[in-house]
Amino acid sequence: MTVYFLCVVLLTMGLYCLVAKKNIVKKVIGIVIMEYAVNLYLIIVGYKTGGVAPIVEPGMGETALERFVDPLPQALVLTSIVIGLGVLALMVSMCIRLYEKHGTFDMSHISKLRG
């Protein structure tokens, strides 16, 4: 239970960083922290204490199945990390372009549009 709680704390830290920081690079870091908190959450969902890799070998008894960790969340996390990498690349390149246009990373100086 504690790990889930800590995971949500990490998510909230990312959200805080996103909301409270004015520097757009720090906002990007906030997003990345949130993404990683969710990835961690998915791993925890599939985790088992004392678990082994889910590979069936000859001579394994029925009891071995009990000790297998769930491989699906790991596959999901791999996909999600790759997507996160793509989004991160786009975010960072947009930050660079914004810096070229405005000469600053400070969001409060960039806001021309009103929302």
Partner: protein, 514 residues
């Protein structure tokens, strides 16, 4: 042979090939994307009325393998996405000439279409998330395609809020997996039907539902999650604005809400959780209708006005669906739920047609006059008769003037709301329908009629490549309005299957799992 996977494969392949070939052959984008969108539109139109198809990827049966499901609701969205995509591509051929890096534009456009087709076809929660991200990433890049200060800022805002939505959706997918041990929507739906229906609610599922609702509402730009839309939609190039407002917010937002809540969570009559969800849907919708409508009245930038209007109109769509959901959740008559959902879906299709028409028209106006400031426009009827006529038809349609399609869909929604006993909400919906009329009269008065504005004096009618899509969409707007009255059977044939999918989640489970 089963052609359904091609809906994803064709645009994905085109998105990959266009920038690669574009290195040597500058016209690759125009040619390949037009060809693939024509093929996709024909396939989508051909699947109207066909029986639902389930394709198991690689031959693995449903709960273990990945399923692609093309049922009534998916087909409805496929038609909207691909037909409007085709018209936007035709419009782009001329309009986008003033931009550089065109192969990248067409590549991203096809990637966005691939993502949206994937979202509407996916029968699996995680694939829904992956395709949602594909479509979103492509749309972030397209919003910032002009790489000027405004575009970048709008794109960055959209990117940050969209990423938060994606994180929430992934969190919810993980929670659903932790509770049910499956990701296949039909399988999850079967498990939840047992867990969710009792009076004791599983709090983890309620958390997942809240996260899904928040994530998808952010993608659909429902108030209070709308802050990115009024910046992002006007900043994009006009065909992209038309795609974003016309189909992206619907397939990534409204469709996903429908599929996840109606088919996966289900609005079972005994569950307190489903009443909470239905009530929040109605709440967000009413807020969107009011905030979007009132904010639109004060705008003088044509595209910003249209963007705010999108928020309001999406509110009507989700109001219909939300009232339908609430009727299902409280276990009142199914016919009333069917009416409300039918109204919501009808307005969804109508809005896809007239809002993309309005955004394309705004692009044509901007390209002919060089401005979209409504104070500088005026008297467009004299100089650009075709664009002015199509804009006028779309404005009348969206404002809900009787013979046009927008009137009938809003009427059905309001009748359903009132018959469900929500008199206050019905009154708000009627009042805001008049506000819609007010700001479209403002568009007519300051853009189409009146004295010829300063920027309009030199304007000439745009070339056929640009006005043909406008005329086609205008025909759709008028046609839907006339058909809705004279040929109800056609409306039933198009929207009926989609409505039945939402009404009966047990049928969906049976369809996928056999």
């Amino acid at each position: 042979m089963n052609l359904v996977p091609l809906f994803v494969a064709i645009p994905l392949g085109a998105a990959f090939l266009i920038p690669m070939i574009g290195f040597w052959w500058k016209k690759s984008g125009e040619v390949l994307s037009t060809l693939s969108m024509v093929a996709l539109s024909v396939m989508a139109l051909a699947s109207i009325g066909a029986p639902a198809v389930v394709h198991h990827m690689g031959g693995w049966a449903a709960p273990k393998g990945i399923a692609i499901v093309a049922d009534g609701l998916s087909v409805l969205l496929l038609v909207a996405v691909n037909v409007i995509g085709l018209l936007c591509i035709i419009f782009s051929l001329k309009y986008m000439r003033e931009y550089t890096g065109l192969p990248k534009y067409y590549g991203l456009f096809m990637l966005m279409v691939a993502g949206m087709n994937g979202v509407v076809l996916s029968g699996d929660l995680f694939n829904l998330f992956v395709f949602l991200e594909i479509a979103s990433v492509a749309s972030y890049a397209l919003v910032a395609f002009g790489v000027e200060a405004d575009e970048l800022e709008a794109g960055f805002k959209y990117l940050i809020l969209g990423s938060v939505a994606s994180v929430m959706i992934l969190f919810a997918v993980g929670t659903v997996y932790a509770v049910t041990g499956s990701l296949n929507m039909a399988d999850v739906s079967r498990t939840i039907a047992a867990e969710w229906a009792g009076t004791e609610m599983n709090p983890a599922l309620l958390l997942a539902a809240a996260l899904f609702l928040m994530g998808f509402s952010l993608k659909a730009a429902l108030v209070p999650f709308h802050a990115w839309l009024p910046d992002a939609h006007p900043s994009a190039p006009a065909p992209i604005s038309a795609m974003l407002s016309g189909v992206v917010i619907k397939s990534l937002g409204v469709y996903a809400i429908c599929r996840v809540f109606f088919n996966v969570f289900g609005f079972a009559a005994t569950s307190p959780g489903s009443v909470i969800i239905a009530n929040s849907m109605i709440g967000f919708s009413v807020l969107s209708i009011v905030v979007g409508g009132l904010a639109a009245v004060g705008q003088w930038d044509l595209k910003r006005l249209l963007a705010y209007s999108s928020i309001g109109q999406i509110g009507y769509v989700t109001l219909g669906l939300g009232v339908g959901a609430r009727v299902l959740a409280t276990g009142e008559s199914t016919t009333l739920a069917a009416l409300a959902i039918f109204g919501g879906l009808f307005h969804l299709v109508n809005h896809a047609a007239f809002k993309s028409l309005l955004f394309l028209s705004s692009g044509a106006i901007q390209s002919a006059t060089g401005t979209r400031d409504m104070k500088l426009l005026g008297g467009l009827k004299e100089r650009m008769p075709i664009t002015a006529t199509t804009t006028n038809l779309a404005a009348l349609s969206i404002a809900g003037v009787p013979p046009f399609s927008g009137f009938w869909s809003k009427l059905i929604i309001i009748v359903a709301v009132v018959r469900a006993g929500h008199f206050g909400i019905g009154a708000v919906a009627i009042a805001m329908a008049f506000v819609t009329l007010v700001y479209y009269v403002k568009v007519q008065k300051s853009v189409l009629f009146g004295d010829v504005g300063r920027s309009v004096e030199q304007a000439r009618e745009v070339s056929p490549a640009m006005y043909v899509p406008l005329v086609l969409l205008a025909v759709v707007c008028v046609g839907f309005g006339i058909l809705a009255v004279t040929q109800p059977a056609i409306g039933e044939r198009m929207l009926g299957p989609a409505r039945d999918v939402l009404l009966n989640s047990a049928e969906y489970v049976k369809l996928v799992l056999g």
